[in-house]
């Protein structure tokens, strides 16, 4: 178990190193940042001075080394457009994105599992067919369109929910949360549904397929032959066996939810990292882009690691390498 965790951990570090190289390479290939900072009538001497103050005239390896060491300390340089450290910009935006991602994932998991189980157990009912149809829509409609439709319906037509922003936020130390105010809750509903809808349909279809598969297995038949209640069979024996793939998908999707919250955050003007990133792209603010890249990959790698470890919690067969006793 320890060796397994350690091995996975080393692999994760390898991945992060590779991403670090790519992030650094962006500085070299995405145009000259000095041009983004200065205006047209800046003299060459001033340009050189800025270049020097940003360390852009050092050899590449020196720059990489410096970038790498700074990145380890969560220093990602200074944003070209805001003239503020990237790390504090990101830290300021992180809570908004994480809260949105967590709400979206929780919504996706709860609704997805419930709908999946229902449509597996009551396959021929009208409601189950409706779920299937809805899931098709959820999978095929692009996120931004769903967001805009929701805004049109609930914000513009009905006026129940705000169409943009995060509502009032409360500061808890460095963390700002919108989940403690009514306006914050109102503001997060639509973005969370928009962001989670795709994952929800994915989880629903997965749970349904897995559940149908598990219900055909011998141990379910044997559980029925033992006279266990339908409830115990479906929600104990069957559901637990469907959870391994669901954990994988939900876990990996959590990374995607954070990474792809860019679109949702843009549609709803959600003050998170995604919005920051979009603005950075528009302004060729490379330090933010590079830091965002590093952070998203760190999140992905961490989630992968956690999912791998979670497997062993759910499935005892993965716990011991030898396992089989005589």
């Amino acid at each position: 178990m320890l060796a397994f965790t350690l091995r996975r951990f080393l692999q994760a570090i390898g991945v992060m190193l590779a991403v670090g190289v790519i992030a650094f390479a962006m500085f070299r290939f995405a145009g000259d940042p000095v041009n983004q900072i200065v205006s047209i009538d800046t003299s060459a001497a001033q340009r050189a001075e800025i270049r020097h103050s940003l360390g852009l005239d050092d050899p590449v390896l020196v720059q990489f080394g410096r970038y790498f060491i700074n990145a380890l300390q969560f220093k990602f340089g200074v944003s070209y457009q805001f003239r503020l450290p990237v790390s504090s910009l990101l830290a300021e935006r992180l809570p908004a994105t994480l809260e949105l991602a967590i709400c979206a994932t929780l919504f996706a998991m709860v609704a997805g599992i419930l709908m999946g189980v229902y449509s597996a157990l009551r396959r021929d009912t009208i409601l189950a067919r409706l779920f299937q149809a809805v899931s098709l829509i959820g999978i095929s409609l692009p996120t931004f369109l769903i967001g805009i439709l929701l805004i049109y319906l609930f914000a513009v037509t009905l006026g129940w929910l705000p169409s943009f922003g995060r509502g009032e936020v409360v500061k808890l130390g460095w963390w700002s949360t919108g989940l403690l105010t009514v306006s914050g809750w109102k503001a997060i509903i639509m973005p969370a549904i928009t962001l989670g809808l795709f994952q929800m349909t994915l989880i629903m279809r997965l749970v349904r397929a897995e559940m149908l598969e598990v219900l055909r297995t011998d141990y379910i038949r044997f559980a029925r032959a033992r006279g266990l209640t339908t409830r115990a069979i479906h929600f104990g024996h069957a559901l637990k066996n469907t959870l391994v793939p669901v954990i994988t998908v939900a876990g990996l999707q959590f990374g995607s939810v954070i990474a792809f919250s860019i679109i949702t955050e843009t549609v709803f003007q959600w003050p998170g990292m995604g919005l920051l990133f979009v603005q950075a792209v528009q302004n060729v603010d490379i330090p933010i882009m590079a830091a965002y890249l590093l952070m998203v990959s760190l999140i992905f790698v961490t989630i992968n690691l956690v999912v791998d470890i979670l497997y062993t919690v759910v499935d005892p067969r993965l716990r011991s390498p030898v396992g089989r006793a005589a």
Partner: protein, 327 residues
């Protein structure tokens, strides 16, 4: 004669498909007395397993019991509402399936699976159920049961897992155990132990056992009586010695002739030509007639009814009282 534990009368099981209604079981009748082991043999698809599943009420749609009666100790259990037949399953009828490797839920400790079953059928407390589970594991021959009870299925070998499955099947002291090919998936050396265990449990607890298998050796060793099934019907049923030594039905004769013996003079094993008809193409009359060396006109038209011959009962026109000489 006392009342049989299990009494099946004219059982019919149908599978309704879009194309046609297939009759998997067609007029099967048999009894099993207390403490008796009835073997059910036949080729794959003869309806052995379906008969077992019908008794325990596990025929899933599109299959259904279309006719006949199943009585357990005098009460009818076919056509019970789902909740009531569930209470019968596991409590009054225990079932053992073919593959112990897949019969146990891999994610639950075996102890939890046994305790769960015990507590479903009795009102024992958690700790009392656990003590009973340990006793059961000891009874089915699991060494160090108080330790192994917390093991997961993958930590047990095939034979040990089948012992756990048997413990699960008997944990509520059922009147009847249905064992559906309990040894087919096991090593030969383990098969004998499992068969001996089932036999011992049946004797110790006075449980009736319905042993479905295609292994004639197992039948000869274990059973009191044997039913030979062919194409959804019982071709012949009787005490195991009689049926093995002196089979009457031409199919049973073929089956017994196909058992290799160690004392074998260098004789070729007798084969039955052809194969069992598919459910969609059962010939009229006796289903065995196309493969039967003794078939005559009547066999192709009229379905033979079971005829008593001493302790045996055989469904074959050759044994009509009037035509007895023909045998």
């Amino acid at each position: 004669m006392t009342q049989p534990v299990l009494s099946v009368r004219n059982l019919e099981v149908e599978f309704v498909t879009r194309r046609a209604t297939l009759r998997a079981i067609n007029g099967v009748s048999f009894d099993i007395a207390k403490g008796e082991v009835l073997g059910v043999v036949g080729e794959s698809g003869a309806g052995k397993s379906v008969t077992g599943l019908a008794v325990i009420g596990l025929i899933d749609p599109p299959g259904r019991i279309s006719a006949g009666e199943i009585e357990l100790s005098g009460t009818r259990i076919d056509h019970l509402p789902p909740e009531e037949i569930r209470r019968v399953r596991g409590k009054r009828i225990g079932m053992i399936f073919q593959d112990p490797l897949t019969s146990l839920n891999p994610l639950y400790r075996i102890g939890d699976q046994i305790i769960e079953t015990i507590r479903t059928h009795t009102n024992l407390s958690e700790s009392a159920a656990r003590r009973r589970a340990i006793d059961l594991l000891a009874e089915v021959g699991i060494p160090a049961p108080e330790k192994r009870i917390d093991g997961y299925p993958h930590e047990f070998s095939g034979g040990m897992r089948q012992r756990v499955v048997i413990a699960l099947a008997i944990c509520a002291e059922p009147e009847l155990i249905i064992a559906d090919e309990p040894t087919t998936a096991l090593d030969v050396s383990v098969q004998a132990q499992i068969i001996a265990l089932i036999k011992r449990l049946g004797r110790d607890h006075g449980t009736a056992v319905m042993l479905v298998t295609h292994d004639m050796g197992v039948i000869a060793e274990t059973c009191d009586r044997v039913a030979v099934m062919y194409s959804g019907r019982i071709a012949e049923i009787g005490p195991v010695q009689e049926v093995v030594r002196n089979p009457l039905h031409p199919y049973a004769r073929g089956l017994m002739g196909a058992i290799p013996t160690l004392a074998g003079e260098d004789k070729r094993l007798v084969q039955i030509p052809g194969s069992m008809p598919r459910l969609s193409a059962i010939p009229p009359g006796c289903p065995f007639n196309p493969r039967c060396a003794f078939a005559f006109d009547r066999c192709r038209i009229e379905r033979p009814e079971p005829i008593r011959r001493g302790t045996q009962s055989v469904a074959c026109h050759l044994f009509e009282p009037a035509k007895e000489t023909a045998a």
